[in-house]
Symmetry: C2
């Protein structure tokens, strides 16, 4: 298998090293042959070439069997609302070019981290959510305008029926293999886009009568996720709402540093932590590499169908946590049994 590593920006560089090493360890142990290549994207690529997604990176991406990505972004652009070239454009473009329309974000809860969350353990215990976030449509990709005199700006939120259909089917298929409950999140009481979304989901739901479907407004979902996360099984939602809900849901897992994601679609799959580039702690050996390692596990499972290998990686993470090892973001001051490690030691 040809695996392309794109470390990206900030802590992406540090954590991806460890996702890659997890893949190498699996290759050694199970006798697979993985060959690795590397490419640049984001701020790192802008610095080197002026382009957040150089053609060479895109070509390598298309030619590879799977991609392990780190993180994107730099504070420099965040505080300059008029910058024309931005790191995030690289990520959005590669999602679009590779047709990565389904972003899977499993909220995996390790028992050892129950105490690391700001939510009460009894609220969390038993939570197991799989998000399906649409990733190549919505207000992310609609036409943008800014008036010449800078007094007006707009972004077009929009969905085509086929875009909703294909991700809805993927989500329903997954729901079938789980607890057979699917919650579709929208804002159909206000948005036309959401009304189309709900329309299509209701239609696809009929093909899956064994799955219980619920429709929920995004405001209510953002609330229920804190109030009673256990009530969710598969959550299906649009690009923007999914961005918000999955970051919020990271607190169920104790930290953003624990969550991996898989973006899939027409071709090569793309695997990445859901956390950002966190420039404030970059280069300090502080970032949690577990999300990258768990992203490697998702790659083994989803891109290569290597379920046993994927489980071994996830189990290694669980064992490490059980032994009391923690990075700063998941350390809990109340538990004396934890040993705080840097990125490399944890990796």
């Amino acid at each position: 298998k040809n695996i392309l590593i794109i470390p990206g920006d900030g802590i992406g560089q540090e954590v991806t090293t460890w996702g890659k090493q997890a893949l190498e360890a699996v290759a050694r142990k199970y006798g697979h042959v993985f060959s690795f290549d590397e490419a640049i994207m984001g701020h790192t690529a802008i610095e080197a070439t002026g382009n957040p997604l150089p053609d060479e990176t895109l070509e390598k991406a298309k030619a590879s069997d799977a991609i392990l990505f780190g993180a994107i972004g730099h504070a420099k652009y965040d505080n300059d609302p008029s910058a024309k070239v931005r790191p995030e454009q690289g990520l959005l473009k590669i999602r679009k070019e590779l047709g990565l329309y389904a972003n899977l974000r499993p909220i995996l809860l390790f028992d050892e981290l129950l105490e690391a969350s700001s939510l009460k353990p009894e609220v969390l215990r038993g939570t197991d959510i799989l998000f399906f976030r649409e990733l190549t449509g919505d207000v992310y990709f609609g036409e943008k305008t800014r008036s010449d005199d800078n007094t007006f700006a707009s972004d077009l939120m929009n969905y085509h029926r086929y875009e909703v259909e294909r991700i809805a089917r993927k989500a329903y298929e997954a729901a079938r293999t789980r607890n057979k409950k699917l919650c579709s999140v929208d804002k159909a009481n206000v948005l036309e886009t959401s009304r189309l979304w709900r329309d299509v989901v209701q239609e696809i739901a009929r093909e899956y009568p064994d799955v219980e479907t619920e429709h929920m407004f995004i405001d209510n979902a953002a609330m229920q996720l804190v109030k009673n996360p256990k009530k969710f099984d598969v959550v299906l939602t649009a690009n923007l709402f999914g961005d918000i809900l999955t970051d919020e849901a990271s607190q169920i897992a104790g930290s953003m540093g624990m969550l991996a994601s898989a973006s899939i679609g027409d071709g090569t799959g793309f695997f990445e932590p859901i956390h950002g580039s966190a420039h404030d702690i970059a280069g300090q050996n502080k970032a949690n590499p577990l999300a990258s390692i768990l992203s490697a596990a998702l790659m083994l499972d989803i891109a290569f169908g290597l379920q046993e290998e994927a489980k071994a990686v996830t189990q290694a993470v669980a064992d490490t946590l059980k032994a009391g090892w923690r990075t700063g973001d998941i350390a809990n001051a109340n538990t004396s049994a934890t040993h705080i490690l840097g990125t490399n030691e944890m990796g």
Copy 2:
């Protein structure tokens, strides 16, 4: 003072009775003269007139000194994405017609309810957030389209500079009277609308050098609100993001049933609980009337400048909670000292 009561739909009918009674009690005790009128809106108005915001209601609203509103919505429309006339249109139209561009949502934390939340008490203690949600712009009011063959739908997200300016000023003024910290939430790494938003807020920030400004992406904000709500003081954000964040933040206060809001702008102010019509518990004497009573307190404070009277109402709520009285939504199974009441008894 002329006060218009619009109970609206579902539990709006029940809880508004008690907000009104709080105003009547204040009038009696402090010797004010409040005269009340009533009008219909939402599903209730559709049933009666076919129009979610009848002209008569709008005229009465414009002529009044303040409005106490209940809730809007009905499941019937939620599950019918093709309905042309919808209850929510009434609420959106009255916001627009009255120029209610600033929606203030204080997250008021009563010590007695610390245990009612799904968040840990130590995470919550000391939290005091005031949201400024823009209320008459954004994707809520931009042009909507749906293709004839139902294969495409869109909503235009957009902001004008003046719309951001006026709410930003209101938020900065409020921050000055509080802890002098303002967090503006957007998605400037993806949305042009957000880049304009950030541009304008950076500009207005210069007029308030005594206030510390932070810019945060919506996904991060949704996460931080669960992780460490104490870090926020004034939060300024757009219509859609504000809708999501404030519902999420209701869990800090223990329940949606505790949160009041004030919508203000060019003329008459509009006061309402942030909860919805909750048809599942409507007519069962189960709804928490405290958000409506606290909305009455906000009216006294903001619309009429009656600070002492507003404090008396809020104190009455605090005393009632201290005495152990609870509605179902804020009762905590772990505390034996609570007595569960219905809507009317609590009111």
